[in-house]
Amino acid sequence: MQKNFTQLENFGHSMSAPSYLIKPTTIDEINEAFALAKKSELTVTARGAGRSYNDAALVGGGIVLDMRGMSAITEWDSATGLLTAQPGTTLEQVWQKVLPDGWWPPVVSGTMTTTLGGCLAANIHGKNNFKMGPIGEHVVEFTAILPTGAEITCSPKKNGDLFYAMISGLGMLGVFTSITMQMKRVESGLLEVHAWPAHDLHEHLSLLLDNAPDYNYIVGWLDSTHGGKSLGRGQIHAANYLHGNEDPNPQETLKVSNQILPPHIFGVFPKSILYLFMIPFVNNLGWPLVNTAKYVASLPRHTFRQSHAAFHFLLDYVPNWELSYGRSGLIQYQSFLPKETAEDAWREMLTMSLKRGIPSYLGVTKRHRPDNFLLTHAVDGFSLALDFKVTDRNRAKLGAMLQEFDKIVLQAGGRFYFAKNSETTAETARQFYGEETIAKFKKLKKRCDPKGLLESDLYRRIFE
């Protein structure tokens, strides 16, 4: 079992922490890592692809388990759509395995590099959250190893309390060792995508609300660099699965090779260096221009067909795009608000950010519904994810503003998502989760991990 002292980063390159990195390949090796941690008085965090925008997969000075050493798809039944895989398996592996047989992962993130273990720990959602819920709702069963050494099997019926707590549990109760999920039947490799412009925030949210029932997926782009009457303007994309009879050649479109994102744009320009050309624009002068161009281009309503991979994995479209945000990286601030209070709260937040000269460069909206998981982030409403560039000059100002954002969101009955937010305080977490939920979680923590071996920097920040 190799142990390396390494500086690890988060997705946005805005945080890093030195840790002893261990890459277990078997359950025994996870146990050995727990034993080592106990012996050397260190804490442990499991890490998937490291795609969280915060400190969920970091533990400064502790032991990080790189779960990508356990990344095999162990069972796949193309008749029932049941897939069993190890926790380090990526969504990329999963969809490439199941699509040729006419299936697609029921819930995916904006990047396909995430691992199943990471997806369950954060209980990720996709652009279909209002319809399909978070990924946890499609897990039939999982096995996990607890820091006590116990191996457990959980399903909604068996060890139900742990099932609903470990999924969404931020990896703090145990380490997933095998995950069985139900895939979604698809008849074509294509989606029919409809695009409309939204001229302001009210229209933006109304379009999401009114159209969601008619579509499988819906997502909005929000131009967060423009205020005034056009505050909240943007573009809505809604998509439906194609039925077999709508796709002239489903055999062909279901092939992995017809899904894969092209490595060049305009056929010639290598995307691997595209982020370098974005750097001059990622600032307060350049980005509003980019957004305006994008908005103008989005004005005509249109409909087109797109592959599943191209529609979902926008974050993979420009490799290393996050590096274009510069040395201090970026942070993402995502808030989830009830549909009744969202518009006012976001109007206040977006106006504040423009007034203070720290606009977000990218806003993404989605439609959500509540779920039954213990540390849930979902509400019957919407989410708005805002990307902010971090610089030495804006750090303090941005930090102060986000604390004010937190207050606005709490007042509006909102919630936060811990694959994203990096500045949330323990007090804010206590308020939106509620005392009762936290007490329940801590009780389970005590049962599964009495010695407190599992601990991430995120856990230290919001639960200690």
């Binding site: 002292f5 946005g12 945080m15 922490a17 030195p18 400064g60 750090r395 303090a396 930090g399």
Partner: protein, 262 residues
């Protein structure tokens, strides 16, 4: 000991640098602890004397209105303890950006006397004690490809003089060791700063024989050191005038130096 888990978690918008000061209980170490805490560092303060350490931490934490300094008792001559304590501290404070080695002892034998026990103690603390900490930290920083090491050598290491051969040797050895680390680590993004103080008004100064020209307070030394750290310098003298004094002293021919009582 207070519980270091209560230190503030670092976030992208409120980043915290973390440092260890070995030999923090008084003099330059204590002054530097105050300075670095004020600049936002979370600090593990390591020294032998428990009550002084606790008082210092309490002073710092009440001045900063936040838990920024945490005490760890340790005698640097117990080399075997260093790796475990280092691992514990890094886990407690959640990372490491800086190691400052200030610990030092001085036993002047007198101009005509010899004292092996004193010499040995000086080498054990000033040099081997430093190596016991610097070597695992250097390895850690090399792997992390980041970090900063500050070692307090002395003008006394620039030349072997008649007054205190053992002390001269320990500080010359430390300066050479730091230079070697610098040459190893710069390519890995790690900065190594050698500090050569002249006279600083600390307890150690009481041991100095003769006059103490250009003596500065530990606070002044801490300011100089912090400035040099920010500029990621390699070698500094504090007070700065010692650079020129030592330049002259280093070039005094042996023919003359042998006959001096300095």
């Amino acid at each position: 000991m207070s519980t270091p888990s209560k230190s503030v978690q670092s976030t992208p918008l409120n980043p915290r640098r973390r440092g260890i000061i070995i030999g923090a209980s008084d003099g330059i170490g204590a002054a530097l602890a105050h300075k670095l805490a004020k600049e936002g560092y979370t600090l593990a303060l390591v020294a032998r004397r428990k009550d002084r350490l606790n008082t210092l931490c309490a002073e710092i934490n009440s001045a900063e209105k936040e838990a920024r300094a945490f005490p760890y008792m340790h005698d640097v001559a117990n080399y075997h303890e260093a790796p475990d304590l280092l691992r514990k501290i890094v886990a407690d404070i959640g990372g490491l950006d800086l190691l400052v080695f200030v610990a030092g002892v001085n036993f002047p034998p007198g101009l005509t006397n010899y004292n092996f026990e004193g010499d040995r103690k000086m080498i054990e603390v000033n040099l081997i004690g430093a190596m016991a900490w610097l070597s695992p930290v250097a390895e850690m920083f090399q792997n992390a490809k980041a970090g900063q090491i500050v070692g307090i050598s002395s003008v006394a290491g620039d030349r072997g003089r008649i007054g205190n051969p053992g002390y001269n040797t320990s500080k010359a050895g430390l300066a050479t060791y730091l230079e070697a680390l610098r040459n190893r680590l710069t390519r890995h993004g790690v900065n190594v700063l050698t500090v050569k103080p002249g006279f600083v008004k600390t307890e150690m100064l009481k041991a100095a024989q003769g006059g103490t020209p250009f003596a500065i307070t530990p606070e002044q030394a801490a300011e100089d050191i912090y400035k040099a750290m920010c500029k990621r310098k390699q070698v500094i003298y504090t007070a700065p005038i010692w650079r020129w004094i030592m330049l002259i002293i280093q070039h005094v021919p042996s023919l003359i130096f042998r006959r001096m009582s300095f």
